[in-house]
């Protein structure tokens, strides 16, 4: 009769193995893997002969795009080129759309006067709802319509997996999974989608790290805000000729900051509350493909531009109407918005924002797309009733409300680093199944955003004032 021992004996064996394993400093696992590789290498050297052979262009291209020296510079160059094209290209159409849409606003106003509509109805529908829509479309549509096709083109060419490859070893250094570079790239599209994509990471520890840090790359909803604010404020900073270059540089630095924060937070997490060993993975680089123009256009215009714009419009239209109402309902001598902004102002001021901006971020929890429209609407509704025809006026509006370059920088930083949108939070709750981690996903970025903006503001005040 064959017996294989009881469960108890097996437990003892396990304990003994554990003892030997730990006595060697817990490196046996790594040694086993590297020994396997060495054996395979030796064997392959014995039997494989490589004749003279010109490597194909895929390998050649890969050697350049993923090389240690050129990999990062090329990545940065491509990224900033994309931003540069977006910013340069978006200016004109933005102006034209703004002119047309705000021209139509006057027509609408005339119609309302013609039918003798009450003042409040004109206020809610035209000055609130319609104007919010006009802002969303003119500020956000042109950059999206240029940025998304370019981004999709890079994706379709097969460049994104190379980005993941380049970033892989940095994630390992942070004790996280290399696959996190892929989920991070997904996050550039939509953080909720990025969080779902963390399913590809098998280790629960590394998956949590990836989920908790996904928010640090700007999604579709935040890119237009960053680009718009960058454009509006970068414009005045340098002489005419280099403006769009400077703005592209600013946005690129911002993205790098987001990626850097991702690494830093991953590193801290894996050394504090999510301690553990790094698991290995193999990243297969797919061949480069000729992009299918049809699918690039479809995916960037329908899937991304229209989707984001639709979401923005759906939320921005009612938000515009509500914001107008809040801005025109007065309690004592201050509008409701004024009261809220006034209440938030001290804390907002300490991080270089103002009460309205912080309120816009709070009201923007359902969707990041509507933060800028809400902000604009609340400035307009709160008394500064000016005529708006184009983007220069938008800059004037912000400046009239006390914006400086420091406000712009802090708004962009806060937008990049602040809490995830409601959709992302719900997705995190669903994916982790834990309220605790969902709360962490809210607290970590919020703390970082407040801290960094506070430091930047205080340093700026110290240096310049």
């Amino acid at each position: 009769m064959i017996t294989y021992g009881s469960k108890k004996q097996l437990e003892e064996l396990k304990k003994e193995a554990e003892k030997i394993r730990l006595s060697k400093g817990n490196i046996i696992g790594d040694t086993i893997v590297s020994d396997i590789f060495n054996n395979a290498e030796k064997l392959a050297h014995k039997v494989v002969r490589q004749g003279s052979y010109s490597v194909n262009w895929t390998t050649k291209t890969d050697n350049i795009l993923t090389s240690k020296i050129l990999g990062y510079p090329i990545m940065l160059l491509l990224l900033s080129t994309v931003f540069w094209i977006t910013i340069t290209g978006a200016n004109m159409p933005s102006e034209i759309i703004a002119t047309v849409l705000f021209g139509f606003q006057d027509v609408l106003t005339r119609w309302f006067i013609m039918i003798d509509a009450p003042n409040w109805l004109h206020g809610v529908l035209v000055l609130g709802l319609y104007r919010a829509l006009a802002w969303v479309v003119s500020v956000m549509l042109p950059p999206m319509a240029i940025f998304f096709p370019l981004f999709t083109l890079l994706e379709d060419l097969g460049y994104l997996p190379r980005v993941a490859f380049n970033l892989d070893h940095l994630f390992r250094k942070a004790n996280a999974c290399g696959k996190q570079s892929l989920t991070m790239c997904m996050g550039f599209g939509c953080n909720a989608a990025g969080v779902v994509s963390c399913r590809i990471i098998d280790s629960p520890r590394e998956k949590l790290i990836a989920i908790l840090t996904n928010n640090f790359v700007p999604c579709n909803g935040r890119f237009p805000t960053l680009i718009a604010i960058g454009t509006i404020f970068g414009a005045g900073a340098v002489s005419q000729g280099y403006q769009s270059l400077a703005i592209a540089g600013i946005i690129t630095i911002l993205i790098l900051l987001g990626v850097g924060t991702t690494f830093l937070v991953s590193w801290v997490l894996s050394r504090t509350i999510l301690r553990g060993e790094t698991s290995s993975m193999v990243l297969e680089l797919p061949p480069y493909r000729r992009p299918k123009i049809g699918s690039v256009i479809y995916r960037s215009i329908i899937d991304r531009t229209i989707f984001v714009l639709r979401r923005a419009i759906l939320v921005a239209a009612p938000a515009g109407a509500i914001t107008w109402m809040l801005g025109n309902i007065f309690i004592v001598d201050l509008s409701l918005i004024g009261h809220v902004a006034h209440f938030l102002h001290p804390i907002a001021h300490s991080i270089g924002l103002d009460g309205f901006i912080l309120m816009a971020f709070i009201l923007g929890l359902p969707a990041n797309e509507i933060i800028l429209p809400i902000l604009i609407m609340s400035y307009i509704s709160s008394g500064h009733m000016l005529e708006f025809d184009n983007l220069v006026d938008l800059r004037n509006l912000l400046v009239d409300n006390g914006w400086t370059w420091l406000t712009a920088v802090n708004t962009m930083l806060f937008s990049l680093l602040h809490w995830p949108c409601a959709t992302s939070l719900l997705t995190i709750l669903k994916e982790t199944g834990s309220k605790k981690w969902t709360i962490m996903a809210f607290i970590i970025p919020t703390t970082i955003a407040f801290t960094l903006c506070f430091i930047v503001t205080q340093i700026a005040h110290f240096l310049f004032i």
Binding site: M1, I2, T3, Y4, G5, K7, Q9, L10, L13, K14, E16, A17, E18, I20, R21, K24, N26, I28, G29, T31, I32, V33, D35, I36, F37, N39, A40, E41, L43, A44, H45, K46, V47, V48, R49, Q50, G51, S52, Y53, D202, S203, S279, S280, M281, V282, E284
Partner: protein, 259 residues
Amino acid sequence: MQILNHSQMLQEYFGIVKKPDQLIIALAGNLNVGKSTLFNSLTGLRQHTGNWPGKTVDNAQGSFSYRDKNFLMIDLPGTYSILAHTAEEEVARDFICFGHPDVTVIVLDATSLERNLNLALQVMEITSRLVICVNLIDEAKKKKISIDFITLEKELGVPVVATAARQGIGLNSLKESIYQVAIGSRELNPTQIKYSMEVENAVLKLLPQIEKFRFDKLFNPRWVALRLLDGDEKFIRNITLHLNSQSRWAVTREAEIAL
């Protein structure tokens, strides 16, 4: 206690239903090495697909006959290793280890043999009933890579077959090798990975304890020692789960052999 035979065990743990006269072949290999092409050209339309029990990993089975034997081929998920970091690796390893296939075929990519040999060497620690299939030799030829198959076979100690599945090259010698390994007419002496001193010493320390269990008919004790030393929780959990049924199955197998 119910005593299981091989087919009952396969059904209970892997959801695989085999006919009594069928021999089981496991097909393993890296991703993108033409494993599916090979699987399709060997089994043709006699396939059916499903999922591994409790896993969201695809499982394809197909049958074919060669000479006087019928074979059921199980297409394992493509993996780069079987150290069980992913669900796919766990499925592949558990089947090779606990499913006791009559033959395991490992498909290697001739154009990147070094990387592919990692998997082959790992599987060779588990089972000796192996055929190594070096596929994509047409691609390798295009890239001016030449492989010394005679030395490779000698070094590995198991049959090595060169194929180009897309062109149908080498499929007959592959079937012949599978057949010979299945009926036990080939001498098999798979080479074992040579580890660093500290690993070998640790294995030696642990071996006497493992040999007490006397399951060397089921598992290579050296390999069990390595997994234990690797602190591989999934393996330790699965071996506990399987040992009970394996012992039941081993009893019948011993009886079958005795008859």
